[in-house]
Symmetry: C2
């Protein structure tokens, strides 16, 4: 079995779906976490050794590195059987993750503005003019796929890496109070997230992981 | 052979690398272009029939649609032999395209601001504070990969869909005067683009296509 080393910051973030793929498939891996507390110092040392100056990075057998979270997940999902059962399903998983990546631009804009301590009126403007319209369009797409697909999964009738990516982001959105109690679509997506999170072989991991804000 | 129908606006844009994959592989396809001139009217009719309310969309055999440009290209590249020669190369092509997608956020910010007719000082601020730093980081990564790889291609020793995506964006950047004559990295990337554009089976297409700004 190949030796896998996954390096990321000590967050769920862009590495969590890859960690979940290791847990689901009972594949041992080295879960290297650059501490956030002294992240600048640790990260400065590490940065130039990464392919794109970014994390996460997956190293395989000490031989090659894969950067970019979706590339890492797709690589692992295809090895472990979570990429979709044929080329059509694989393409759909890819498309859904890319749609999430488009939405994540608005998501990051809101998160970074909050972290940068921008004034409240500016944060509200970002929330209502940038984040909410992007979230609503994205949620409409997810809800439509789930209603049409009926299996409870986003692709075909089984779990794929697209479910792991989307459910983990829904978990972050829930923590950030971006899912409304009185909105039917939001509650449908919350139930979908709970279904994915209750996947056998994932529950233990979720119960014991460090559950950071994002 | 499957019947392919690729629908997009009458632009290079997010559909051009998929068109190039059809040309490279001598695969017939229906190149449906929603006219830009009356795009609102044509597009309004079409929008609700697309999976994500967006173009491009690839329809295969009238049976299923694939949305999202990278998902479309990856699907075609794997069919036509331009995805990389093993799983490691496939992951690298994926990672490079995702790095481009990250850069494209800054690229789109600049393009949309110019189209929206923002005042010159605001455009300059976006160019110098958002676009240029993102471009410089992205170009550094591309130049580093090409120097290390030595084949003249971004992945392994042959053409992949990552080259088509990156070269076509470099062509847009050149048109938008974002490649400087006196910058060595910019000129290296321009030469790289010219190499990809001079690929046999691609030259005819490039010479005869409608060469829009983006």
């Amino acid at each position: 079995m190949p030796q896998y080393k996954l390096t990321y910051f000590d967050l769920r973030g862009w590495a969590e779906p890859a960690r979940q793929l290791f847990h689901l498939s009972h594949t041992p891996y080295d879960d290297v976490r650059v501490p956030m507390a002294d992240s600048e110092r640790s990260w400065e040392k590490l940065k130039d050794t990464t392919p794109f100056g970014q994390l996460p990075v997956l190293n395989v057998d000490g031989k090659f590195d894969i950067p970019q979270s979706a590339a890492i997940c797709r690589y692992l999902a295809r090895k472990f059987g979570y990429a979709g059962k044929d080329e059509q399903e694989e393409a759909w998983a890819d498309a859904i993750v890319d749609q999430y990546k488009d939405f994540s631009v608005a998501f990051k804009t809101l998160i970074f503005a909050a972290r940068a301590g921008k004034p409240q009126d500016e944060l509200l403007k970002i929330r209502y003019e940038i984040f909410n319209p992007s979230r609503d369009a994205y949620f409409g797409i997810l809800d439509g796929i789930l209603k049409k697909n009926k299996s409870g999964y986003l692709v075909g009738d089984g779990l794929t890496w697209a479910d792991l990516v989307i459910a983990d982001n829904l978990h972050s959105l829930e923590k950030l109070k971006a899912l409304d109690d009185d909105n039917e679509v939001h509650q449908n997506l919350k139930k979908y997230k709970e279904k994915i999170y209750s996947t056998p072989d994932l529950e233990d991991h979720i119960a014991t992981r460090m559950d950071t804000e994002v």
